[in-house]
């Protein structure tokens, strides 16, 4: 583990996109949450929540929310972290199977899902909040994700690898390996799931290489949304995105949403075994600020709709979210 500390220093000191994702271990903190609200939420009188919302905003303002000047004017990493869907044929099932990656990211689809407009409004509110907190502008996210599995006789057990092509920056691609969730007493106590993740940038013929090595395409997805990259105690990436499946092989312009109206919010930060605690604290503390809109939960464990969400969103939308933050 001797290499890990200097390595992290490299991350801290370098602003080249590659460094962040050359990490050998990334902790994957997930903010499961779905912006999907029942119709009665829409009808809830905003006024009854106004006090709470203002309280939240006051609380939000109690700590400097911006990472402005925290890293000598650097621009944090551009790379994008995204969760994934193992089987697009069963989109909205929050099945917590060990092998599946994305399913646990979804909360159960609430009955009587609200209109798209409402959800879009909450997404917009979250983006305003994130922009205020992070002090960086959002980046558009459009990522083609390919899920490969090893062929029948390759490896003692089947292995999976993901190839991500950021369509905003088609090269390099990203190769990603996601391990199983960490277990144990420590893992039980925190409200997030921690997974080992390894990423590597690679030239765009990486799909051809993996095909040559005996891997097969299992399924593919298009993730569309926005991403925020910033430093706040750790290098944090937040993505807010929807997941779409392709109607034909690699047809990225011909997609349908897998989970209509549902957005996945993901908070990711790289860490090593040495700085895990600090990074976990940084992520938890950052997520506190999002509390008016969404709560941390383990994948598959629904927190339900955050009671203050509608009011907080309305409040954020009304003033653009900038001033008090």
């Amino acid at each position: 583990m001797k290499h890990e500390k200097p390595y992290f220093k490299t991350i801290m000191g370098s602003y080249h996109p590659c460094f962040l994702f050359s990490a050998t271990v990334l902790l994957h903190f997930l903010l499961s949450t779905v912006f999907c609200f029942a119709q009665h939420d829409l009808q809830t009188p905003i006024a009854s929540h106004e006090g709470a919302a203002f309280e939240e905003k006051a609380r939000l303002g109690s700590t400097p929310p911006s990472c402005h000047n925290k890293c000598n004017g650097c621009h944090p990493c551009m790379a994008v972290q995204v969760p994934t869907l193992p089987n697009p044929n069963r989109p909205a099932q929050p099945v917590s199977t060990k092998n599946s990656i994305i399913d646990p990211f979804f909360d159960p689809y609430p009955a009587g899902c609200g209109p798209v407009g409402l959800q879009a409004r909450h997404v917009e509110a979250l983006e305003i909040l994130l922009q205020g907190l992070c002090g960086v502008h959002k980046e558009h996210l459009r990522v083609h994700e390919l899920f490969l599995k090893s062929g029948p006789n390759l490896g003692h057990v089947t292995s999976e690898v993901r190839l991500l092509c950021n369509l905003e920056h088609p090269e390099p691609w990203t190769v990603k390996h996601v391990g199983g969730a960490l277990r144990g007493a420590g893992a039980e106590q925190i409200s997030v799931l921690v997974r080992n993740m390894v990423e590597s940038k690679a030239s765009k013929n990486v799909l051809r290489l993996f095909y040559a090595l005996g891997y097969k395409l299992d399924h593919e997805l298009l993730r569309v949304g926005s991403a925020f990259h910033f430093k706040r105690g750790a290098w944090i990436t937040v993505t807010v995105s929807s997941i779409n499946k392709m109607l034909k092989l690699h047809a990225i312009d011909d997609t349908v949403p897998v989970t209509l109206g549902i957005q996945v919010v993901e908070v990711t930060a790289p860490a090593t075994s040495e700085n895990y605690s600090e990074v976990a604290a940084a992520v938890s503390s950052f997520c506190e600020y999002l509390a008016p809109l969404l709560h941390l939960s383990k994948p598959g464990v629904s927190t339900g709709v955050v009671p203050t969400a509608a009011a907080a969103a309305a409040s954020l939308m009304s003033d653009g979210g900038g001033t008090t933050l």
């Binding site: 994702f21 006789n153 390759l154 490896g155 690898v161 190769v175 391990g179 690679a202 030239s203 013929n205």
Partner: protein, 221 residues
């Protein structure tokens, strides 16, 4: 980046490479006023598929190589020569390969030696040894021409330099010669503009040649 040619020592029929030849080559570089600059080291790894059922041999590449180069310490290169694939990735790709448990590294070789500056040229001369022993398996030489990046534009100057070098080394009456085999980079999807991927492909080509030479010698013995 500046282009380079990677040459390897081709022993005469019936002879093998030895440290005496390596010493002579090193002295020869110094005799033509090469200024020693420091050490360099590249590592080449052969990967072999892990098969669940050994009796079934699927069509998987048998020439899957990974290379790390001193000029790009944060990068790693994969090459499948048979299918003309070269991939550049972050060095963390090696961790991903370990986690996937579908291929394991079978043999690894070091290419290591000294670096010399000679006008606009940078030379690297080194030995090829397995990572776990000192058995000399070959001698390698990189000739880098610092002012140019175009393979085509530099061809003439490179040929002239290599001619001068061959002449200098031939005076020592060693049992072999340096050989340059230029891969067809276009087949690997590489352009005329030189990159580290070109170097990786050259190393893979040299490796194939070293294996072929040693196989012939083993058969002869």
């Amino acid at each position: 980046m500046p282009l380079k040619w990677v040459l390897h020592w081709q022993p005469n029929a019936g002879t093998t490479v030895n440290t005496q030849i390596l010493n002579e080559v090193t002295q020869c570089v110094e005799s033509i006023n090469g200024v020693k600059e420091g050490r360099w080291k590249a590592t080449l790894t052969f990967y072999k598929p892990i098969l669940r059922d050994q009796s079934q041999a699927p069509e998987l590449p048998r020439d899957f190589l990974g290379i790390s180069l001193p000029e790009q310490p944060n990068k790693y290169y994969f090459i499948i020569r048979g299918q003309r694939i070269v991939l550049e990735a972050d060095s963390s790709i090696q961790t991903i390969m370990e986690k996937l448990q579908s291929y394991k590294s079978r043999v690894a070789l070091y290419f290591e030696g000294f670096q010399y500056q000679l006008g606009d040229f940078q030379l690297r001369v080194g030995k090829v040894t397995p990572t776990h022993s000192d058995n000399l398996r070959g001698i390698i030489m990189e000739v880098e021409y610092l002012p140019l990046s175009s393979m085509d534009k530099s061809r003439q100057v490179m040929e002239e330099f290599v001619d001068i070098w061959q002449e200098a080394i031939s005076k020592r009456s060693l049992p072999g010669h340096f050989m340059h085999m230029e891969p067809n980079f276009v087949e690997f999807g590489l352009s005329d503009h030189y990159s580290s991927q070109h170097t990786a492909v050259q190393y893979a080509t040299v490796m194939a040649q070293l294996i072929a030479t040693q196989s012939v010698q083993a058969a002869r013995n």
